[in-house]
Symmetry: C2
Subunit: 256 residues, 2 copies
DNA sequence: AAGTGGTCTAGACCACCGG
DNA sequence: CGGTGGTCTAGACCACTTA
């Protein structure tokens, strides 16, 4: 502890040297925490070490660790719970199970939901999907289609593509058996944590096939939601093309 | 810059007393800053006092003021600029002029935009609009319709309602004259800063009238975006119902 | 050089949780 | 009770802007 700067090997930012890169200590800590999360040192749902422990491990003050954790918590990678600890975010909890689903009933009434897997097979990635998933052209992907119903009203028709190398052994059967939401299943069965997603939304007219599955008229307007989901290193891990029936539902969003 | 004239009182949080309410000091400071913003003590685009000045004014440490400002900056109410100061957010800046518009070209190419006001009049608020704007039934609102085109392709048809008491004297003429975006105009002409908005999105089929204005076929699928925008105290100040043509555009969103 | 926000530290104390 | 995160302070120094 000296004064002025830290003597630790924590390397004070290397301000001299023409190196254009200067990143604050807490950002470096954030990076280290991110690596630990990525390599699975702490699993979803588990507690990470206390702030003081981490401060000791990284040879910085508690305040610096705190700021790093603050940012990870703001990004929803970690969850702080006063008096208990800081936990790795997980998709297995009631309150966040539909974290990425922005479709909401027009009336607030909650409805029971049921998911039906219509198809699931390994195929060579189409060019557009390969590009979105950072795969080489023709690499294997798991391709699946499912129908989500609310109170027996078919509402969402999803086509989903996953990197085949990561999601080995995913079958329709295993999805029906473990009835958890997909992202929860990805975590526990394949060690893949979805952390962020981008969506692009258009309005389209239902094709004959789509109309039949959703039990509506061909040509009826549908919300088409294309989603790319990312794990820790901003690595894309899922492409999802959903068709949302918005007769009694809407997509909600907050701008700020 | 004002001198003195602060009827402040620095209170340490009233931790004793069984009072159920306990709010941290920095939250109280945040509230005071919010009040100052609301009452227009600092206008959009202007700098607020420095952290040290505010710390002196409120009789707290710089760190406490800093944390309050951090949150306001995270909410986009304030903008920090290192070395220069902290500024009140404004809709008058190139980079944030389309802050609330999530419609993006499918290819990244930028297009020139033009707005045409089709209608603008004072009317009694319809019941649903009155409810959304927290107005009494039948109170006056400004109702306007406009068409937004990108490179001469009509793309967005907006119906907009504004509280009549606040937006006195808003006319189609004045909007065409000052060519700035609506939210920028609201700021400079009416002192109304839009801070946040909620959107509800559906897919709908174009009516005959809508189709004609957007130069498409009746029944074509459109994105219907209902937006309620809020000023400082979470007071609703605008209802906007937009129809987006998503042939060559999409609504983009980030989930986390 | 002076003034702003940005980082980092060290220490005190508070609120919440669990055994 | 001890351990966790949460708040608050005071002070040092760094980075960026402006003059």
């Amino acid at each position: 502890m000296s004064e002025s700067t830290h003597p630790d090997r924590g390397h004070v930012p290397d301000r001299s040297a023409g190196s254009a890169a200067f990143s604050p200590l807490y950002q470096q800590i954030k990076g280290l925490l991110l690596q630990s999360l990525d390599r699975g040192e702490w699993k979803p749902g588990e507690a990470i070490p206390s702030e003081l422990d981490l401060a000791a491990r990284f040879q910085v003050s508690q305040g610096t660790v705190r700021k790093a954790i603050d940012e990870l918590a703001a990004d929803n990678l970690l969850v702080r719970r006063q008096g208990k600890g800081t936990f790795v975010a997980t998709h297995h909890e009631a309150n966040v199970r539909f974290r990425f689903l922005r479709l909401t009933p027009d009336d607030a009434r909650q409805r029971g939901s049921a998911s039906q897997v219509l198809d699931c097979r390994r195929v060579k990635a189409p060019a557009d999907i390969a590009a979105l998933l950072d795969l080489r052209n023709g690499e294997a992907v798991v391709s699946l289609r499912r129908l989500l119903s609310f109170e027996d009203t078919p509402t969402i028709l999803d086509d989903i593509w996953l990197p085949g190398a990561v999601f080995k052994g995913l079958t329709a059967e295993s999805m029906q058996r473990l009835r958890s939401p997909l992202y929860a299943l990805f975590e526990s069965e394949f060690g893949v944590s979805m952390v962020r997603a981008d969506e692009k939304i258009k309005a389209v007219a239902a094709s004959d096939e789509q109309a039949q599955l959703l039990r509506i008229e061909p040509g009826a307007p549908l919300l088409r939601v294309e989603r790319v989901s990312y794990t820790y290193g901003d690595r894309p891990m899922e492409v999802r093309r959903g068709l949302y029936l918005t007769e009694q539902f809407h997509y909600r969003n907050s701008l700020n």
